[in-house]
Subunit: 511 residues, 2 copies
């Protein structure tokens, strides 16, 4: 072909979209998604229907294999990364090398989910039978009973189910972002790696080992984490840090057998009373943790970080109203300002029964589960140790086992403390060029200014990734904030799935 004719032919091809109405990457990705919504949603419902409680290894593996299938169907080489430890859930790994790319970006999500108590879910909702809701249960959402597979899906609907938002949504968005990108003629600017973990909800206890064993595969210039919710305002978010986390299970012991509260009241100590005294001593009415040295070693936000927090703190009043709260725990402190500090939270309490099931007894035990979040500077073992020291100062005999008869005879206040596996917080500097590139890519898909958070409130084991791989980690949380993650009636808003696909396609073509 004559060179000039070739050039004209090329120009013709290149300018065709202009003639038809020029399309940005985002528009192309969106058009592709719109054309394939029904298949995408059908596949996603199938995915959410596979039980994914982290400890349910058999079903967790079914999830992993389902994801491998999703990747392969889209032409991505995929495999399971495992370690030789019984009960360790596999990572799903996939990789696409892009000729000429100088950077490698690892896209992370997790496919395991928090435990479920089906009784606590609303009528008609089952953790692993995803259905569409017209709104959240709390806002009076109803099940869309007449929807059938293949029918259109209203983007305002919610899809219910454990993991629907946290964090199978991340897997769904990342895989479909890549697919939409390449199916519409796009090419990633970076080598793309897919890394989907199966143990995030139990503290990622094996992640370090998996990364160490599969270091070359996991290596990258940047890890982008897709987990957690966007801002309450709906605005997109880029987050540069996460809190660390550790759980503590407490069990207080009293009499060996349940006692009639009349025959033994005023004589036998009540373990529930002992427990409430202990817990009440840990935090004052202003939300300050009273455990000695609890606030000793956290790193304050930098000026850049404080500014970012200030810019993002504008929806607290709306949030309080929506949650049905008069005021925050510490009046005057914003949601995001609180992210600077470590937390001590009561996840749950239990002793005998309440309400209709209650009997007039003195219970034998009383239990609480605590959640401690760490910020930069805290060490999770040191922090948990402070809570244990607090108990000891108050005269508790702290054990890692059920009390023996000897211990019962010797100590009036008996408590078993089980400290889970924890990890520390992680923060990436907001001033890195890579950080700016991520913000720019996300911003390219949003008319509203992207919110930059020095840290989110939640926890991910990003410190492990940073330490084992020596890489950078940035989080792009992408689901609706009112998703009930970790709790009953978990849901993802369909529109957020669709927008997440656009976000991650943009990140795969970051400058």
């Amino acid at each position: 072909m004559h060179p000039r004719r070739f050039v004209r032919a090329v120009l013709l091809i290149v300018s065709l979209p202009l003639v038809l109405g020029a399309q940005t990457l985002q528009e192309k990705v969106r058009a592709h998604r719109v054309a394939h919504e029904k298949e995408l949603m059908g596949e996603y419902r199938e995915f959410v229907a596979i039980p994914n409680v982290s400890a349910d290894h058999e079903n967790v593996r079914r999830n992993a294999e389902f994801i491998v299938g999703m990747l392969r169907k889209r032409g991505v080489a995929a495999e399971l990364l495992t370690i030789a430890k019984p009960g360790a859930n596999p990572v799903v790994f996939g990789e696409v090398r892009v000729p000429g790319a100088t950077r490698t970006v690892v896209f992370y999500a997790h496919y395991d989910g928090q435990p479920v108590n089906p009784k606590q879910w609303a009528e008609g909702l089952e953790p692993f039978t995803p259905v569409f809701l017209t709104d959240t249960v709390e806002h009076g959402g109803k099940i869309v009973a007449d929807w059938r597979l293949g029918q259109p899906v209203n983007p305002q609907w919610r899809l219910s189910g454990r993991g629907a938002a946290d964090d199978k949504a991340g897997v769904m968005m990342i895989i479909n972002a890549y697919d939409a990108l390449v199916k519409t003629g796009g090419v990633p600017t970076v080598n793309v790696k897919f890394f989907f973990e199966g143990e995030e909800e139990i503290g990622s206890t094996n992640l370090g080992a998996i990364l160490a064993v599969h270091k070359a595969k996991a290596a990258g210039d940047l890890w982008i984490i897709c987990d957690g919710p966007r801002h309450v305002s709906g605005r997109k978010v880029v987050a540069f840090g996460v809190r660390g986390d550790v759980n503590m299970d407490l069990t207080v012991y009293a009499a060996k057998r349940p006692l009639h509260s009349g025959n033994y009241g005023n004589f036998a100590p009540n373990p529930a009373l002992h427990l409430v005294s202990l817990l009440a001593s840990m935090k004052d009415d202003n939300g300050n943790v009273l455990v000695k040295n609890f606030y000793d070693d956290y790193v304050l936000f930098s000026e850049t970080e404080k500014l970012a927090i200030k810019e993002a703190s504008f929806t607290d009043a709306q949030l309080l109203k929506e949650l049905g709260l008069k005021q925050p725990e510490v009046p005057g402190r914003s949601l995001l300002e609180g992210f600077e500090l470590p937390t001590l939270n009561i996840n749950g309490l239990g002793s005998a029964n309440t309400g209709k099931l209650a009997a007039n007894i003195i219970p034998t035990t009383a239990k609480a589960t605590l959640d401690l979040r760490m910020v930069l500077g805290n060490d999770w073992q040191r922090q948990a140790g402070r809570v244990v020291a607090h108990m000891q100062e108050q005269g508790w005999h702290v054990m890692d086992h059920e009390p023996t008869d000897e211990e019962r005879a010797q100590f009036a206040k008996l408590i078993k403390v089980e400290v889970g596996e924890g990890y520390n917080a992680q923060r990436t500097s907001m001033n890195l060029p890579l950080a700016q590139a991520v913000v720019d890519a996300v911003q390219s898909t949003s008319a509203e200014p992207v919110i930059k958070l020095p840290t989110v409130g939640g926890s991910l084991p990003l410190i492990i990734i940073e330490q084992v791989l020596g890489t950078r980690v940035i989080t792009v949380p992408s689901v609706n904030y009112d998703n009930n993650q970790h709790a009953e009636n978990e849901n993802v808003k369909v529109q957020f799935l669709w927008e997440g696909i656009e976000t991650f396609a943009a990140l795969m073509t970051m400058k």
Copy 2:
């Protein structure tokens, strides 16, 4: 007949038992029971197998009809006493008039039971599938798996099941005491009335109305209550009073939906923390209730009562050891001395989940059920009112309903308080001749001195009986103390059933 021959004939008849081996009433009753143990136990297992949770009206009625059958089988005219109120459980009533008797004694027990949570029962135990245990579950008792109907029963065994001790045992003892008495040629010295209630475990809310409607039937010179346990030492007990009782269900509200403890920690108030602060403020570490005026209006024990308490307080050390407790709630105060005072007990606590089911959330609600016991002088409504006032003083907005959006916007501390139907304490003077007659009758069946208690720790609606009928009320508690009444693994020791039959036969022939 010549007077002397008449006297000789009479002497011959009177001395006949001596010739055959003279038998006391107790010996005759015992021999009759020994000969019929298998049938008695077969019938009792059948009785305990009928679910009897007070609110389960259909099954409660099956229990009532079963008791009617038990009475009729023994030749006692029996009927159900009801009132025209939907859902009111019937009383089973029976009556035997004794020619020449000048006193009428009403024998009371209740056949309804506390709620059950089958999951909390030990492996192999079901609340309504009674089985024999070699000992209490807490003492390592095992199920006697190879026992079959008709085989002998070891008197040291326990029969498990809700109501096995509290208080179907009372029904069983009273009916079989009468039967053994008359079958062995005995004649009651009093008109005997049987009165078996079906709503004791829900506060006997309809008892007053039933007594008022059926006043003539319920009338008697004395009511003897068979409920509650004998002394820890195993000694038999006559009790002259009971505590009053009222339950309070508390629900603390926070955010409308469960929140991720990381994303909302340090911002959203935690209802479990609010609840523990409230509960901890109600009682100090020395077991003193801190609710204002809580101890204002109780009547101190009289000197006679104090003496009785002192005589009976000798087994606390053994009890503490057996319960696995270092010390009582108030070191230095005996179990029975504590009966002088009102109580405030936490029956149960609940908020979200603990342990393996716990999720990292801020729960939406936290609940507690309290049990307040009243002593002489207390009024249950006044006492519950003091607890409510305590909450209000601490800034709680106390409601009888779920919070409205307006209340949520207005108040930071929201609590729903549901006060159950309660009743006050009752005490009968220990110095009445009738009181002495009861003690003497019980003493006639026991080698050990009978323990006299001015009051038991538990509650029965005896004040209602006293007030509506103007009669006297005395309690003869008869089951083993370690029966787990109101709780999981409830059990009755077989020997206590057998001995109870002797006790009540003696009471039916009281002087």
